[in-house]
């Protein structure tokens, strides 16, 4: 095959694959460049392996804490090495089915292994090879941010790369104790997972948990974590790190006082940094912002007209999110725009998002603070899951649903849930919002009784009724 391609894609994650599949459909000859493992973050060291192990940790926890009178706690025993082994098999299986075999099945797709660096606007060097792209997509994703904490470079530390099945950063031994640095979605998911598998976990977070989300979500989660025995140090600044023979010690400043936290391992989960620093984007005339993200217009075109960028590398522009399905959508849009003159714009106004803690969290649309910040007339109501029949029936009443709705037309602007099954039921809210549903639409829909989805019906009714006095089925 020639070294000149219609579409040269840097990266091989969900964004890259969606673009490659669509571009190939449209007749393009496509090359994809990957310097790590085929498939990108999600399948190799992100969503997929974390969800696998989080579910195992839930089984361990529920066995030990059965919630029901009449069920005795049981210790199921954790063989961490074996757990990691089955996780690795799942990763390899998904990578083979969803990425490698898909790539193999595409006509005119070439995979190139190595670091990619632009030499001019159409030319990229990959190892010894020089390839050109008539059109180019930058979809190189992101990696864990490493904060500038004195001493960090001198101690071994973990990142979410510990989830990987085939790279050196993978973890195969359960740490007896673990400091999790960070309070975002990756930090909280992994902190609870390790705690439930048997590590003694301390979270050190600069603000509270899940800043940027509805504040009550992080507070409810913090209470649940504390009840499970996870130690939380919030509003805490990491001052410096030191290694000692037994592990690491992190000096923390909290409310003006200093203290030292010790653990066998340190997990750094303080955010994600776009992978744009080694690409030589300047040689291609592609601008980046101060944080390394690639500015794009609504059709995902960069400052260089024949180059598009999508997925994690565009950060939160155009209401995008750093998330697998968002990148995949954007990859398809880029292919349509590049080869079918579709002029499609990315619409990030309704993107459901979930955090797979227990209780889990799921959100769609704006937070109350975001709505207030744009001075839009709106009203919010928070309904505890205590009022959802299923929650009481299965002894899982922790959590709430919060609606934010327009006071002009009662259109729903945001839905924020923490509680049982939140990542599943959020799709009802997302679909409703996609069709511009009002509070009345949620109330009008007959819901299956008793399901956690009734939380949406009850939460919408909370604006007009006293939901503590509803009979069965919330009518």
């Amino acid at each position: 095959m020639s070294d000149a391609f219609d579409l040269l894609i840097l990266g091989s994650g969900s964004t890259a694959f969606a673009a490659a599949i669509r571009a190939a459909d449209l007749g393009a000859r496509v090359a994809m460049v990957e310097r790590r493992t085929l498939g990108g973050t999600c399948v190799n060291r992100g969503c997929l392996p974390s969800k696998n192990l989080i579910e195992a940790a839930r089984i361990v926890h529920e066995a030990a804490h059965p919630r029901y009178a009449g069920l005795a706690p049981a210790d199921v025993g954790v063989d961490f090495g074996a757990l990691v082994g089955q996780k690795d098999e799942v990763v390899r299986d998904y990578r083979a089915k969803k990425y490698a075999s898909v790539a193999g099945g595409l006509t005119d797709l070439e995979l190139l292994e190595g670091d990619a660096a632009f030499t001019d606007p159409h030319t990229v060097q990959v190892g010894d090879r020089v390839v050109t792209g008539d059109r180019i997509l930058v979809a190189t994703g992101s990696r864990p941010t490493i904060p500038p904490i004195p001493g960090l470079a001198d101690v071994p530390y973990l990142t979410s790369d510990l989830l990987d099945a085939d790279e050196v950063g993978r973890l195969t031994e359960l740490p007896a104790s673990l400091i999790v640095l960070g309070g975002g979605y990756i930090a909280v998911e992994l902190a609870q997972m390790f705690s439930r598998l048997g590590s003694r976990v301390t979270i050190v977070a600069r603000s509270g948990l899940l800043s940027g989300y509805e504040p009550d979500l992080g507070q409810t989660l913090a209470d649940a974590f504390t009840a499970e025995g996870i130690e939380l140090l919030t509003e805490a600044r990491a001052d410096h790190v030191r290694g000692d023979p037994r592990g690491v010690e992190l000096a923390v400043e909290q409310a003006g006082a200093g203290r030292v936290v010790r653990a066998a391992r340190l997990l750094v989960a303080t955010g994600r940094t776009p992978n744009t620093d080694t690409l030589g984007l300047d040689r291609a005339g592609i601008k980046i912002d101060g944080d390394g993200f690639v500015p794009v217009d609504a059709q995902l075109r960069t400052s260089q007209p024949h180059v598009w960028a999508a997925g994690d590398v565009i950060g939160r522009q155009h209401r995008s999110q750093m998330a697998t399905p968002v990148g995949a959508r954007q990859g398809r849009i880029v292919a349509d725009n590049a080869f079918a003159d579709a002029a499609r714009a990315f619409d990030g106004s309704v993107i459901p998002r979930a955090i797979f803690t227990d209780p889990p969290i799921a959100v769609v649309g704006e937070t109350e603070a975001e709505v207030r910040a744009r001075h839009y007339p709106a009203v919010a109501a928070t309904t505890p899951l205590l009022y959802v029949p299923r929650a009481g029936a299965v002894h899982k009443t922790t959590g709430f649903v919060k609606f934010i709705a327009s006071t002009i037309d009662e259109r729903v602007l945001g839905v924020h849930i923490i509680g049982e099954a939140a990542p599943e039921i959020i799709h009802e809210a997302a679909m409703a919002m996609k069709f511009k549903a009002t509070l009345a639409d949620f109330v009008d829909l007959i819901h299956v009784y008793p399901t956690m989805s009734e939380a949406l019906k009850i939460g919408a009714q909370a604006f007009s009724r006293d939901v503590t006095k509803l009979s069965c089925c919330a009518e």
Binding site: D6, A24, D25, L26, G27, A28, R29, T107, D108, D134, F339, A340, D341
Partner: protein, 84 residues
């Protein structure tokens, strides 16, 4: 219309073709564009070479193919008929 316009080859990528009937449909679509003298469509390489006046826009060729509702085309480049 002018006869002064030079004739050249326009290379296209073509998507969506699965059989010889598709080749016929895409060829007909391309040859329906004013200024096109001939179109050679190749299924295995998913490409087409159009012999046309130089004022024929790639977008017009692409549009003609897309109007079929089943296929896509885009311009890869153009070259002189006298040689590569």
């Amino acid at each position: 219309m002018t006869d002064q316009q030079p004739i050249l080859f326009i290379d296209l990528g073509v998507g969506g073709m699965t059989c010889d009937d598709c080749v016929v449909h895409v060829t007909e679509a391309l040859e329906s564009v004013p200024g096109v003298e001939a179109a050679t469509v190749d299924l295995p390489t998913r490409s087409a070479v159009v012999t046309a006046r130089s004022d024929v826009e790639g977008s017009a060729l692409a549009q003609a193919v897309r109007t079929t509702g089943q296929y896509n085309a885009f311009e890869r480049g153009r070259r002189a008929t006298s040689g590569e």
